[in-house]
């Protein structure tokens, strides 16, 4: 940790040597390369976006004291629990892909990326199937506050996962084309951050929407 | 020509105005000082041949002073405002001896519900509902406390009586209470102060602040007088009370009667 901090300070801290800076690639002010920093800043704003949605749910349900249906009677908890597990697994395969990229293990990188995409796609598929069933049972966004908040929160999460799957697929294609060779793991780590964030949001959503 | 506050006609008006003037004097003084300083600097330090600016990067002392002074003034202001605010808006500070009223706003009118002879606003399903309703007109007795139940049927409105210095939003789905005590008799205007649709500008009502006697006479005229009101109005108690139910059909009554 300290050795690393030293390295960072030398490479990119305040008062960088001109040569080190010129490429704009090396870590700058906080010792974090640009894409990663940008992704984290973006995720900070995503936190606020989900705060608006989840906060509204909390406010409408507990703050305003609205009557709430028994979620377990409406939603299929076992299926979603399995689905949650699939999403967690895809997060694990993502870090495995990242670890493979760091040690330049192209075979495993491709394999784990593929696993991640498939996991994400299964998650989205199960969610869509869940939606179709719910709609068939007459549970709609217009069915009271629970319907509204449920579809808005899970819908926007699903939208994020879908975006994630699409960009993961693209990253996978790039990986097969050999774009992440030679320890070039920045792209993998950056998209991975987004992927884990989406997973993290789902962990919260699963608990407060389905279980509570 | 009247280009300033409308004449104050409620018990809290004086306090609000006093706070306003206090802030006006403080900010006025700051305004004059800062703008005068600015003008003096503009004139005194304008560029002239051979002048060179002094190299001054800052002064801890000066900065501490001009952080502390506004802080003290402003915090004092907050402390002075707090009790006035509490008196106006905290439910715990509402007067105990107040008469009830209910105002329901809808696009674009004020439905004022008055208690009947029983002196209470009945909840909607009360069978012996003797409340009565007036549209856009609020009849009050001078120096009498009122607690008003504010509700809205459609969008957010804002109940604003400039002469009383009172404003309170009416939010659909919420039940908000407000108290007031008119201190001057006369006719004042009620305005809507929150955009509520294209008829917002004509959502106008009137407050009639009456002496107890005038008010009792008005009640009798409405056929809504209680025995006590009739006495105040100078009528004999028994006949007035007996006559009341017969005359009541003339006025629309209860909530949602419009």
């Amino acid at each position: 940790m300290t050795a690393r901090a030293e390295a960072v300070r030398a490479a990119g801290g305040e008062g960088t040597a001109p040569a080190a800076h010129a490429a704009s690639g090396p870590p700058g002010g906080v010792g974090i390369y640009t894409q990663k920093l940008g992704m984290w800043v973006f995720l900070a704003s995503e936190v606020m976006f989900f705060t608006a949605l989840i906060g509204s749910y909390i406010i409408l349900r507990w703050g305003a004291g609205n009557p709430w249906p028994d979620t377990r009677a409406v939603l299929n908890i076992p299926t979603t629990a399995v689905n949650t597990f699939i999403l967690i697994c895809s997060s694990v395969s993502m870090v495995k892909a990242y670890a493979a990229a760091v040690r330049d293990d192209q075979k495993h990188l491709k394999r784990w990326l593929l696993t991640t995409v498939v996991g994400g796609a299964i998650f989205v598929g199960v969610q869509v199937r869940e939606y179709i069933k719910l709609v068939h049972h007459g549970f709609l966004p217009s069915s009271g506050l629970f319907g509204a908040t449920f579809y808005t929160m899970t819908g926007f999460h699903g939208f994020h996962v879908t975006c994630g799957v699409i960009s993961m697929a693209w990253v996978t294609i790039r990986a097969f084309r050999g774009k992440y060779k030679g320890g070039n793991y920045h792209g993998i780590e950056t998209i991975g951050l987004y992927w884990h964030f989406v997973d993290l949001v789902w962990i919260i959503l699963f608990t407060i929407v389905y279980l509570v | 020509m009247h280009w300033w506050f409308p004449a104050d006609a409620s018990s809290i008006g004086g306090k609000v105005d006093a706070l306003f003037y206090a802030i006006l004097y403080i900010t006025g003084a700051v305004f004059v000082l800062t703008e005068a300083t600015l003008l003096i600097f503009i004139v005194k330090y304008r560029h002239r041949q051979g002048r060179k600016a002094a190299y001054v990067e800052g002064s801890k002392k000066a900065e501490i002073i001009w952080t502390a002074i506004p802080a003290v003034i402003l915090v004092t202001l907050a402390l002075v405002s707090l009790p006035v605010w509490a008196k106006i808006k905290y439910y715990s500070h509402f007067p105990r001896d107040a008469s009830p009223l209910a105002i329901e706003a809808k696009q674009y009118q004020w439905n004022v519900t008055y208690p009947g002879p029983d002196g209470k606003i009945s909840s909607g399903n009360d069978s012996d509902d003797d409340d009565f309703m007036k549209v856009d007109s609020l009849y009050l007795v001078v120096n009498q406390n009122y607690v008003v139940d504010l509700t809205s049927r459609d969008v957010v409105h804002s109940f604003f009586v400039p002469a009383f210095r009172i404003k309170q939003d009416l939010v659909p789905g919420m039940d908000i209470k407000l108290w007031m005590r008119p201190t001057k008799t006369g006719r004042f205007e009620i305005a809507c102060a929150e955009l509520c649709g294209l008829g917002h500008y004509r959502m106008r009502g009137l407050v009639f602040v009456q002496t107890p006697r005038e008010h009792a006479e008005w009640l009798v005229g409405q056929g809504e007088a209680s025995a006590a009101d009739s006495v105040t109005a100078g009528l004999k108690p028994a006949p007035a009370a007996a006559a009341a139910p017969a005359a009541r059909g003339a006025t629309s009554r209860g909530k949602g009667a419009s």
Binding site: W40, A44, A64, G65, I77, V95, L200 | -
Partner: protein, 102 residues
């Protein structure tokens, strides 16, 4: 450009910390999810259940953030970027909850 960016920092930054045992974290997440389900079907008093669930969810979220997003191994300054929105989110929700007049 890409090549220029990647070559330099790869060494010190990545090799710095030993990769955490991702499988262990994954197992922990799986177990915690099962515990959550158990809590739901155990029939605990409602507020105890909610408290337990929120605690478990935060625990899982922490695991993901610390190990999968390797916040544990990042400079402190990045942690501030990440944590900055959380108090604001809390303030928003708590204030609005108190904004309703009971």
């Amino acid at each position: 450009m890409e090549r220029a960016m990647t070559a330099a920092p790869a060494g010190p930054e990545a090799a710095e910390h030993k990769a955490p045992n991702y499988v262990a974290v994954w197992a922990a997440l799986a177990v915690l999810t099962m515990v959550e389900l158990a809590v739901v079907y155990m029939g605990l008093p409602r507020h105890v259940m909610i408290l337990a669930l929120v605690f478990l969810a935060l625990w899982k979220a922490m695991l993901v953030a610390l190990y999968f997003m390797h916040l544990r191994f990042e400079p402190k300054r990045l942690l501030y970027v990440v944590l900055a929105p959380l108090p604001l989110a809390l303030i928003l929700v708590i204030a609005v909850m108190h904004g309703f007049r009971k």
